[in-house]
Structure formats: structure tokens, C-alpha cells
Amino acid sequence: MNEGLAADLRSVMSADRVRTNATELGLYRRDASNIEGSAGVVCFPLTTTEVQAAVRTAQRHGVAFVARGAGTGLAGGATPLDHALVIATTKMNRVLSVDAVNRMAWVEPGVLNLDLTRQVSHLGLHFAPDPSSQQSCSIGGNVANNSGGPHCLSDGVTASHVLGLEVVLSDGSVVQFGGEEPEEEGLDLRGAFVGSEGMFGIATKVLVRLTQNAPTVKTMLMDFASVEAGAQTVSAIIAAGMVPAALEMMDQLCVQAVEAYIHAGLPLEAAAVLLVEVAGLAAGVEADAERIVEIGLAHDAGTVRIAKDEAERALLWKGRKTAFGAIARIKPNYYLHDTVVPRRMLPEVLRQVYEIAERHQLLVMNVFHAGDGNLHPLLVFDKREPGVMERVHAAGEEIVRASVAAGGVLSGEHGIGMEKRDFMPMMFAPADLAAQAAMRRGFDPTGLANPYKVLPSAGACGDVQHVPDGAWV
């Protein structure tokens, strides 16, 4: 707690939106990861001006500040360290304007992802990035983490859907990057800001691109006797020149857990199930669906189930989307990983994932964005079991190493945050990391915007292995 800071904040925004009681601070000491820190003060600005005042106040006190959306991040990005000021955007949750003709909207950062889509669906439009957490995550968080989702295979991740930003920089100045005009002069600061995990400033308005809903959608489920056959089907579909709207895979353990939970008639004996969705205009969708079924059968797909109607389509997706809920019935805790590998390496890396989990006596389930090669190994466990957390972390690190060794990357959508900060050297040489630190210094020379994240040497403060007091991974 930091009473001096709180008192000053109460002079720039209504006192009831500046909180310091222990219970509340406790709620904000972590995001959806299990990385804990400590919040000094939590405030809830309503306007850009209040965000600006909060940032300036933090600067005056020399206190770090952390932007927080919905706190669903999985990499510790919104975890405050060393009693930082948490600036929560929850109350900045209005859709400000919608241009239905040119398909764009200005929104405040606290608008929830699915709420935005709901508010424009009567116009035949949606916001394309659809993280599995879309009911609860904020657009500001999506921007900061450059979030993705199942339908980002054909439509691209958040970076492709952000046209402009209003940002409060760490010195309290308010700037606009990009905008309705498509070709801003000079450096693409909008592009550089997306994915900056709260370390370049706080987004206070976002101009998003809206996407036309597809007139025809076809969703199908194919099952395979081996994970390899499923993964090869994925590669073959892409190699045939098709980019389906979504290409998701679940392995056997995951399918069994989901089926026990929602009773959708999923094939329990199959080693892998592929959920494929094609969307667009009628003739293209028909032709693609036909070829995808042919490719699946050529790779020995067992059964092919095509959703007859919207209800069945929803049921098939429900299986994919409730995987986490289903898994909670097996063991109380899970650790969700996120790496990307080249599609053709999927069978090999999955084999290693199973082997790693077995060696650490952990249960692993895989439910992932196969079309992007974006793996989500889910380690399930009971943290009351002595020594289990050590095994979970050791297995996690090996999974990340195996993915990078296969020509992949550290994260496909969850970001680096605290979780993978010290893994960055697996992928980047010192000169590469120095360039990223230079970006950070350019945007935030003070180093007070969400420090200690992403950069292993903590860029601005230079302390290599600094894990701040009270933080645990």
C-alpha cells in the first residue's frame, strides 16, 4: 500500500475509484497466471484525462504503473510488481463510434471482446480476433498482447485489426498512432505498440477494423487414429491452397474429458479430432469443404461429421470452447502453455510433449490452433501434491525448448510477460534483445510502464535476474 500516492490520486479522480484496502489489493496482485506480485494502489479512471493524471502522479512518486484490462492474461503481464500502481481500464468500456460502411469503430480499452462483436452484429459485422477468453478479456488487453483465436487463421491476429490508437505515454502525454487515414507518414508506431504488453504506454482509445460476417459457414469434425494423420491433414489442406476459417485439433484425452462434460457425441476412441470451419461465399465454401473431406479421407479420417444446422455447429464449437471447464473436472489445477511450431513439425513436437509429460509424471492434454501450428499443451495437476509445481515448471520449460528447437517460437498468443521473460534468449541473441530494449527505451525512457516484463535483462534497469520481492512464478 502507498498512502501518499493514493492521496494524490484522490485529488485527480473521484476518491471511490482509488482503492487501497488489503482485500482489493489482493485481487489485483496477479492476472490469470499463477505469477503473483503486489499492488500498491488500484485506480479506475473513466477518461483519457484521468489516465493521464494517474500516470503523471505515478511518475511524480517514481512508482511503476501497470495497465490492467480484465486480468485474463496468462503470462503475468498485468501482474504488478514492487507495489506498483494498477491502472484498471474496466470502467472505460464504451463503444464510442461505429462506421458501419467503412467497417471500423473507435472503442475504449475496457470494452470486452465479445461485447464489441455483439454491439455490431446487427450490422453484419464482427471483431475478428476471438480468443477463447473473449467473453471476459478486454480490447486493451487484446491490443497489448496481440491476441489471437481460432478464427485468426484466415483473418489474422489483433495487429491486423487495429487501425489506430490513442495512447498515454509514460510521461503523461497523449498521442495518436495511426487512425482512419491508412498511410500515416513516418514510422508505424501503431504497429509497434500492438503487442507491447503495457510497456510502451496505456491505450485509451482503439480504432478497430470490423469484419464482414460470412454468408455461408460450414463446420465439420473429422477423427483420426493417430495424431500424425490429423496433423498431416492440416498441412495438406494448406498446401492445397486453402485457408479455412479455423482448423482446431483436440487429442484423445481432451476429447474424452470434453465428451464426459457436454455429451456432443464426440468419437472417444479417436487419437485426434480435427474441427474445420470454412466460411465465405456459397460456391467457394462448398468446393473447399468437399476437398477438405477428400484430403481427410486420404489421410484415413475415421468419420466425418458435418454440422447440419446452426445448433449442431454451436455444439461442435462448444466442445472446443469448453475444454478448460471440462478439464477442471479431472484435476483442480492446470497450466496452459502456448508455443508455435511449423505445421509440418506438429507430429514430432506433439510426440515430444507426450514424452516430456510422462517423464515428469504429469497428465497432458492438447487442444490447439493446428492451422497456425499454435500448440496449447495443458498440464493438469493437483497443486496440493508435494513437489508437483517443480515438475510442472520443468516440463513447461522443456516443452518451450522443444518448440523453439523445432523451428518454432516462444509464444503464439499469450505473450512473454514474466512467464517467458527469461526464455527470450532461447530465441534471440544479445543483439536482437538489445534492439527490443531500444524500442522500449524509445517509447518509455522512464522505464516505469510495466517494468520487469518481456525483456530478460529488464532493458531499462539492467538487472539480469531480478525477480522482485514477493513475486513467485
Partner: protein, 288 residues
């Protein structure tokens, strides 16, 4: 394999003295009067099933497009010039509405920094959020942060059918809103053009629905200025022009001065430039 020698390129850029980089000179070329280097050229590999290509930044875009066409794929870069030039300028051609901006194409870059070191930005997969998005900062930076050497680009499948259409249209948004994800819609104040791609039946059904007739290609683009305006304001555009509907790029016969950015934004851009090249030796005189 091995057409790209980045170490040799880095040695050529060196660590001292002003230096400029040239492609094919189609987009303004090198800074005059300064020692000139050229990026490595050639396609290193194509992975059609990953939808990724690796090539030297000095590769002509047209050569790259021809190589990809053998795999029935293409890349969303404007034709002409070199890959590095297209990325460094960062301006898309008239297919931006459907193909996306140039900045979405670059997945990974190895560039030579101001101290003559090879630096990697981004990563080798289409989906990647490992660290800050340095690739997006490089696209459009006109060589001021580093000289692109080797790039990994995202490819896209070539559509089965691709056809330009036209119709008279004083009400431009009428055509625009009738089409599902057109690749391009252009308007000159009285006539609209659309590029539609996909399954031939869909392409022709769409065209019929919007009363469009097939034509050979887009209209010639006036070259007095390339303007960037809010797409909603295209309706009020005066003079001789061709506007990209839904995007806001306007090809106009008359010259134009772009609005200046706010001082704070300029200061930030210069701070970034200073971080990457404190002595201002890369493409000297270029102001980001």
C-alpha cells in the same frame, strides 16, 4: 541453398561513416552522394505448406512473385522494385482492401544495424508474439533503423478466379456494401471498379448482384499525389482522382501536402531513430 551471405552484407555496411542502400531505384532509390550498398538477392527457400518464403531483401518483387506462382501462391507486396524497397517504403498497391497492408507480410527480418551487426526481428512462424513487434517498426522505416538483409514473408494462395469489374456509380458505397470481402474497390467520382477473387461461381454471382461488368483491369492511377484520408471522406473528394474505397488511399492528379504529425509523435519517432542509429549514418537525411 545459401544464396544469402549476411555476413558479407554486414561487412559491406560496416560500422562507420554514412551509408545508403539501393534497391532497383523504383521508389526513390539511394540517398545521393553517399556510399551505396545493395542487399543480398535471391529466393532462399519456399515452404508452400507453411505459407512462408525466405529471400534476400534485394530480390526483385517480380522475381519473387514468379517463383511463388510455381506453387500457386503469391505475396501481398506491390509489383516492381525490390522486396526490401517495398517493405521499407511500406505502401501497398490497390489490393490492400483484400490482401492487407504491407506491414502484415513481414514475419522475420535479419537486418544490419548501425553498428554493422546482424540483428533478427520477429520469428519464423505466421503466428508469433515473442517480444516486441520490431518487424512492424521496420516496415515503412525507409532504412533509417537498419538495412534489411534477409526476410521471411507470409505468402497467400492465388485465387482460382480473379477478375476486375466496372460500373457507373455516383453513389460509391452502394457497390461497396453489396460485395463480400472484395479485394479492391476503386472510385473516381462517377465510376466504380472492383476486383473480385474466389470461386468463379461466387465471383460472377457477386458481380451480377452489384450490376458490374467485367473489364480488363483497373483504371490508370493519377500520379500527382498519393493521399491518405479517412475512407468516410472519399465522397467529398474533388478533382481528378481514383480512390481506394474502404481504405482511404486516394491517387490524385494534384499535388498534396500530408498533415504533419504532432510534435510529441515526431519526438518519439526521432527518439526511436536515435536509439537505433545514434549517429544517423544509415540513409542519412531520412527523417522518420
Amino acid at each position: 541453398m545459401g544464396v544469402i551471405d549476411l555476413d558479407a552484407f554486414a561487412a559491406e555496411v560496416g560500422a562507420e561513416g554514412p551509408v545508403t542502400i539501393a534497391g532497383l531505384g523504383s521508389r526513390g532509390g539511394a540517398v545521393p552522394g553517399v556510399r551505396t550498398v545493395y542487399a543480398p538477392s535471391g529466393v532462399e527457400w519456399v515452404q508452400p505448406d507453411e505459407m512462408i518464403v525466405c529471400c534476400g531483401a534485394g530480390t526483385p518483387v517480380d522475381e519473387l512473385v514468379a517463383v511463388l506462382a510455381e506453387h500457386r501462391q503469391t505475396v501481398a507486396l506491390p509489383p516492381g522494385g525490390t522486396v526490401g524497397g517495398a517493405l521499407s517504403v511500406g505502401l501497398a498497391d490497390v489490393r490492400r482492401l483484400g490482401y492487407g497492408p504491407v506491414r502484415d507480410v513481414l514475419l522475420q527480418a535479419r537486418y544490419v544495424s548501425a553498428v554493422g551487426e546482424v540483428v533478427k526481428a520477429g520469428g519464423p512462424t505466421v503466428k508469433n508474439v515473442s517480444g516486441f513487434d520490431l518487424c512492424r517498426l521496420l516496415v515503412g522505416s525507409r532504412g533509417a533503423l537498419g538495412f534489411l538483409g534477409e526476410v521471411l514473408l507470409r505468402t497467400r494462395p492465388i485465387a482460382q478466379c480473379s477478375q476486375w469489374f466496372q460500373r457507373e456509380a455516383s453513389e460509391l458505397f452502394e457497390v461497396f456494401s453489396q460485395l463480400h470481402r472484395p479485394v479492391s474497390v476503386l472510385w473516381d467520382g462517377s465510376c466504380a471498379w472492383a476486383l473480385l477473387e474466389g470461386h468463379p461461381d461466387d465471383v460472377h454471382a457477386q458481380a451480377r448482384g452489384a450490376s458490374l461488368s467485367a473489364v480488363d483491369g483497373p483504371p490508370p492511377l493519377p500520379s500527382g499525389s498519393r493521399r491518405s484520408v479517412a475512407p468516410a471522406s472519399i465522397v467529398t473528394m474533388q478533382g481528378e482522382f481514383v480512390a481506394e474505397v474502404g481504405v482511404g488511399t486516394v491517387h490524385h492528379a494534384e499535388p498534396w501536402t500530408p498533415p504533419t504529425r504532432s510534435l510529441r509523435v515526431l519526438e518519439l519517432a526521432r527518439a526511436l531513430q536515435h536509439e537505433f542509429d545514434p549517429l544517423g549514418r544509415l540513409n542519412p537525411g531520412i527523417d522518420v
